[in-house]
């Protein structure tokens, strides 16, 4: 058994690695620049390139995004291994598109640095000059940062050059650097080495990379900081987890309390009217999608449209903490009635079906017939002899149901606007708040695996006939 446990726990490791790689990989392909997202609203002085660059660099450093992405990188030999040093995601992607066309990094790097220097030149000139010609030149040169097609770059450079030639006041200051830029772009084309694009090159970045830092932090239970509102992820999750556990716990409790007697009695009175009607009802309940039922309840029972405004509308109520305990309690409870019902009915149907099946198996056994034969009362036979033996599989179900209910509460929390884990996850995914997404994915994978493991262990513990050691099977 111990051996089996160790083996199972060892399988956790590759699984978690796969999930962490998936989540991390997704966050890197995802469009959008987290640094830009964070800077939005701060509005660094875009007119001052040095200042903008410093703010950008500091933010990237704060988020840990100035490190290489992964331990190793596989890319064509044309790409430099220091590309990650270019912090701006849009610039970096544009440069790698240039590399993908011409295959030679040194002239491209030279061209990029000239472009950056151009920014400073433009700022210098811009102190005295704010004419139309200057603005057009500046916008053309700024667009070069995001241009990678040959025709586009050439036309932008031509445009800047002609404008600078026409304006005598700008000519002296701007024409030489524009010419230099042009010749450095020509150098990219002259020194192209497309052969390098087909030569694989494995680059080693060492341990100080984004993935390693995140994973080590996760293992020390440091989940990082949300990109969206800069709160620690652990704090955000603590609040959300409270509500999710509360409503899921209540739902599972209700489901168990109702489903066990239902299952037992429909098995005892098999083929009776009671059995048939409960079986049919439970089957229908089981097939009803909870997000439909949630929407229906929301539409019919929380709005005055249909004269059935019996429940308060979405959310959790907003009585201040100074309000008397009982009125706060009642407020919360009335808000949670519908969500708990939506979460409970599916589990209820599932557990009763299992309970009925388990009871039917037990009732057919010889020892039950013996119990009847020796004249025990019906209650004793059913509850003491049959029920106890049928109960074990139901207990183990708990471990399987919890992750399922956890996932199911995404729909319910979104519909009823409950600030739980499900809502947190959906919001984080839609806002591309990756630290939260990573953590939720990892934690729910751990929960799922632990659930399955606990179910297996409980099953073996409850039923001595089940054995996981190899020599017996």
């Amino acid at each position: 058994m111990v051996q089996y446990l160790i083996k199972r726990i060892l399988i956790f490791i590759p699984t978690l690695l796969v999930i962490s790689l998936l989540a991390f990989g997704l966050s890197k392909i995802a469009p959008g620049d987290p640094v830009e997202m964070k800077l939005r609203g701060f509005g660094p002085d875009q007119q001052n390139p040095a200042n903008a660059e410093r703010v950008y660099r500091e933010t990237a450093d704060f988020l840990g995004l100035d490190k290489p992405v992964f331990y190793i990188g596989l890319s064509p030999a044309a790409y430099p291994d220091t590309l990650y040093n270019i912090l701006r995601r849009d610039h970096r992607e544009n440069l790698s598109k240039l590399v993908a066309q011409y295959g030679a990094w040194p002239p491209i790097s030279d061209y990029y640095h000239r472009l950056l220097r151009m920014n400073y030149v433009l700022q210098e000139v811009g102190r005295q000059e704010q004419g139309n010609a200057f603005r057009s030149i500046r916008s053309a040169l700024q667009q070069l940062f995001l241009a990678h097609a040959d025709s586009r770059i050439t036309s932008l450079l031509e445009e800047a050059e002609t404008l600078a030639l026409q304006d005598s006041s700008l000519q002296a200051a701007l024409l030489p650097p524009i010419r230099e830029l042009k010749s450095s772009y020509q150098a990219i084309k002259d020194q192209a080495r497309p052969g390098l694009l087909y030569l694989p090159d494995i680059k080693w970045y060492g341990l100080d990379n984004q993935y390693h830092n995140w994973l080590m932090g996760f293992l020390q239970l440091d989940f990082g900081i949300s990109y969206y509102d800069s709160r620690p992820v652990a704090d955000k999750m603590k609040d959300a987890l409270f509500w999710t556990i509360l409503i899921n716990g209540m739902a599972i409790l209700v489901a168990y309390l109702l489903s066990i007697p239902l299952g037992v009695f429909s098995a005892v009175w098999k083929d009776s009217f009671f059995d048939r009607s409960t079986t049919l009802t439970l089957f229908i309940l089981y097939s009803l999608p909870s997000f439909w039922i949630g929407t229906m309840l929301l539409v019919f029972f929380t709005t005055p449209e249909y004269g059935m405004d019996w429940f308060p509308s979405i959310g959790l109520g907003n009585l201040p903490p100074e309000a008397p305990f009982w009125s706060r309690f009642w407020e919360r409870a009335s808000h949670m009635g519908l969500p708990v019902f939506c979460l409970a009915y599916g589990a209820l149907a599932f557990i009763s079906r299992q309970m009925r099946g388990g009871m039917l198996n037990v009732i057919g056994q010889d020892y039950i017939r013996t119990a009847w034969a020796k004249g025990l009362s019906g209650r004793a036979v059913i509850w003491r002899h049959a029920f106890r033996n049928a109960l074990f599989p139901i207990i183990t179900l708990f471990a399987n149901i919890f992750p399922a209910v956890f996932a199911g509460s995404v729909a319910i929390e979104v519909i009823f606007n409950i600030p739980g884990m499900g809502k947190l996850t959906i919001d984080a995914i839609l806002q591309r708040d990756w630290p939260v997404v990573y953590t939720v994915l990892m934690l729910s994978a751990i929960l799922t695996m632990a659930g399955i493991l606990i179910a297996d262990v409980l099953y073996a513990w409850a039923d001595p006939r089940v054995s996981y050691s190899r020599n017996k099977s």
Partner: protein
Amino acid sequence: MLIGVKKEKDTAEAIARRQAMGESYWGIVRRQFRKKRLAVWSLRLLYGLIFIALTADFMANERPLYCKIDGQVYFPVFKQYAVALGLSTWEAQFFQKGWREHEYETVIWAPIPYSATTIDRKNNNYRAPGGEQDVESTRFRHWLGTDQLGRDVAAGMISGTRIAMLVGVVSMSIAALIGVFFGALAGYFGDDRFRASRIRVALNILGFLASIFYGFTARSYAFSEGTFSVELLKSLGIIAAIMVAANLLAGFLKRFPVLGRPVTLPLDLMVMRLIEVISSIPGLLLVLSILAVIEQPSILYVMAIIGLIRWTGIARFIRAELLRIRSLEYIEAAQALGFSEWRIIFRHAIPNALTPVLITIAFGVASAILLEAFLSFLSVGVPPEQVTWGSLLRLARSQASAWWLAIFPGFAIFLTVTIFNLLGEGLTDALDPRLRS
């Protein structure tokens, strides 16, 4: 496969005939299946849904099925297919005016004369099915009401049927392909039967790495510039070429004794570990995060992703069946006859293992449809202009008085999911040898 239910009399005769000559396996299964009334009814309803899905363009369309303008005869609904395929173009007059504004000499409209995306400006802002509607005649009523923009809900329901069926069929086909392949590998070869020469194993690993590099890494620029599907096909072609080359080379090099020494690969162990890893990934959250990343949402991605994570059940079933089948006599006979392993797997072993997979597929279709409805309910991964059951249901949340938006699409989801669940249960019973009498 399962053939529709005929008249009782026919069946009785057929069964009698079959029993006289020794009934076939499928015959028994069919007879067993017909005993479950609910399962039979769900099969009939399923035919109905498939019919709606196939003829959706003819059932709800803003274009007339047939019309005559100025002596010219047109079949706009048929023409729509030709235009979509690039074989034809619309006449200028059809661009200039809406479909309802022409002077028709004769015209036959589709049963529901609206497409799912048609916006009826005169009937916007949630017109109730029984309420007052500003339409020319009863023929043009919105029988299931409209949404805020004035789109017909009945047409949306029909387009939703097509999407739901498509999602179920395509995603489960992908899942079945992957699942059958991996399950068969694991079950037929087990941990001890797969032997390959050292050089073949090494070259395949190298080929795999090279495929990733030349198929994707080196082509990332082509992917960002070109059309995704075209570039993907090219990449797959490159990968196939590399793998074929690696295996041809291996076939040549294995003549050298050092390179040709066989190694045993524990395929079963590898596949089972893979299945364990995939089934402990929180599927819903993963699907949500993948779909949220995709910049141009399409229902195709939804189907592909559902297929890619839902194959493990099928693989488990096939593996279990093949573990049993591989030691049967007819497989040994085939091996003794010198057939290649692949031929035995695909022509002799898998066909006999497919039956129980139908059960998993039936339940799988149900859960795929449910997942797609949920995704479009959250408006994740499905393009905003696509009308599906889930997206209609979502509209109900913003307007509580529009009860028709809450009831009809939700009921369609429920009905379809139940049909597939009942079919799955019916099949389970029909295929269970213990229940056969």
